[in-house]
Amino acid sequence: MKALVWHGTTDIRCDSVPDPQIEHPRDAIIKVTSCAICGSDLHLYDHFMPGMKSGDIMGHETMGEVVEVGSETKGKLKVGDRVVIPFTIICGECDQCKRGNFSVCERTNRNGHIAAKAFGHATAGLFGYTHLTGGYAGGQAEYLRVPFADATHIKVPDGIPDEKLLFLSDIFPTGWQAAVQCDIQPDDTVAIWGAGPVGQMAIRSAILLGAKQVVAIDRIPERLAMAEAGGAITINFDEESVIERLNELTNGKGPEKCIDSVGMEAHAAGTVDAMYDRVKQATMMETDRPHVLREMAYVCRPAGTLSVPGVYGGLLDKIPFGAIMNKGLTIRTGQTHVNRWTDDLLRRIEEGQIDPSFVITHTVGLEEGPEMYKIFRDKQDGCVKVVLKP
């Protein structure tokens, strides 16, 4: 089959690789009908996340049709089912899964001992996202092997196009969880850093959850226009001071809720801390560039909440914990517990409350995937979200 394969820093190719096989009775194989490139894939493309090996298949936003099932998936999944595959692989049986904390499933990361060395404990297995999370093949391919498939799937009905459903795999529930983590109240101002795909979903989620005011912060005009279309007030951080504008919009009190949908590769040209991060990262003295975390901690209203769906990988420098502690801020983070939200979100799509396909700007074949990684990374051609059709 054809698949997008990681070969090294900024080197992804569309290769021919062996078809996946059932390896365990709980496995299923799906024929991929649509998959997408995620912003967090760019951390692998640029090789900021450790643990990739040449030959790894990329991708964790995938949907398709079940073409083969293992003997232990019977009753839960059958050939012909239409499914979206959540990016977190879940067993559905461990203590964390029973609590709905699916992204920290205790059993699906087959390299849990490596993750435990880095993070203290293992987190869930993920598709196509380094050997720290299990080294599972990803879904930017013609076929995908789904481990623990009896639990790791979202059944979706026929009659709704892939484009409306695909993002149940990651960015829609991720934006939703980011907003839910804020416990939004009707008087809240929610400030969202980053108007990429997750930021766009977080904006829509915050509006659906009834925030009085949603503010989106970015520098790319197309993304800001899309954020504005979704009901956000926009701040272009290249043209005005984020902190001054947020204080102005909140009568000097700061936003109650702040969402970081940027993560480890913040671009904040011109600020002293951003230059500092660049130097430290280039000299391998820092893994991440946490400009957004610093800004959020500074501007958030006392007793407010910082919600962090943006991906961070390691050790962060100069985090103003004094501000966080003295202002009594709550920090909520985590990879998304996808299946915890998807029944509810699928209903909202079916009822027409939201149509997540608004975010798609490019649809191409798998062969064009490597080029699209570059275009997406460089934010060329107004690229916000790429869907691949194998």
């Binding site: 839910v180 790319i220 005009p221 197309e222 043209e239 709550t330 915890r340 909202r348 409350q353 700007t361």
Partner: protein
């Protein structure tokens, strides 16, 4: 990676960060020029260049003109190259002050090091502008109709109010907003 804004579209199509750097250099140029025009005698004394006050004031006028050119022009590229040429002139003039028995040679060395630093920044900025400006980015895509809400934004605000935030995701009670009707607040006591 390159971003254009309305401002940079008007000013030679450079990346916004490069344009910001150019503007910074323009402001610096004017500030330095004003200093040279306003206090040529002080500068000449500090550098051991007595008798060259007129030259310093002239250089100040050059700096002011270049700075205005950078800030006001449609394309700052030639003006930044102009700064590079001016830097070379400054360095050459300062080098003459190293000759002979100038007691302020140490100050001259410091000044030359500072000019060299600014020159590096000028050269970087000029080269980047020259690379970027001839290649404008394609027109912006129009995403202003991509609401994501089939029923419109205002109809959708609060549409998910039936959603109950799970207990483990709720803000602690003490950190929730005060929901009772507004009570009159007494003015802040003066301390």
């Amino acid at each position: 990676m390159r971003y254009e804004t309305e401002r940079t579209r008007r000013r030679g199509h450079a990346d916004t960060a490069t344009d910001t750097l150019a503007r910074g250099l323009g402001i610096f140029s004017i500030a330095l020029g004003i200093m040279e025009v306003a206090a040529p005698r002080t500068l000449a004394r500090a550098l051991g260049m007595k008798g060259q006050e007129g030259l310093i004031a002239g250089y100040g006028l050059r700096e002011i003109a270049t700075g205005i050119g950078i800030l006001a022009s449609k394309d700052p590229t030639p003006w930044i190259w102009g700064r590079v040429a001016g830097d070379a002139l400054d360095l050459a003039t300062l080098a003459t002050a190293l000759e002979g028995k100038n007691p302020k040679k140490e100050n001259v060395g410091i000044a030359m090091a500072a000019v060299a630093g600014v020159t590096a920044l000028d050269v970087y900025c000029a080269q980047t502008l020259s690379r970027e400006s001839p290649h404008p980015l394609p027109p912006m895509q129009d995403y202003s109709d991509r609401t994501g809400f089939p029923r419109g934004v205002e109809q959708s605000r609060g549409a998910a109010s039936d959603f109950e935030v799970p207990r483990d995701f709720r803000a602690p009670e003490a950190m929730r907003p005060y929901t009772q009707p507004d009570l009159p607040q007494r003015p802040m006591p003066s301390m």
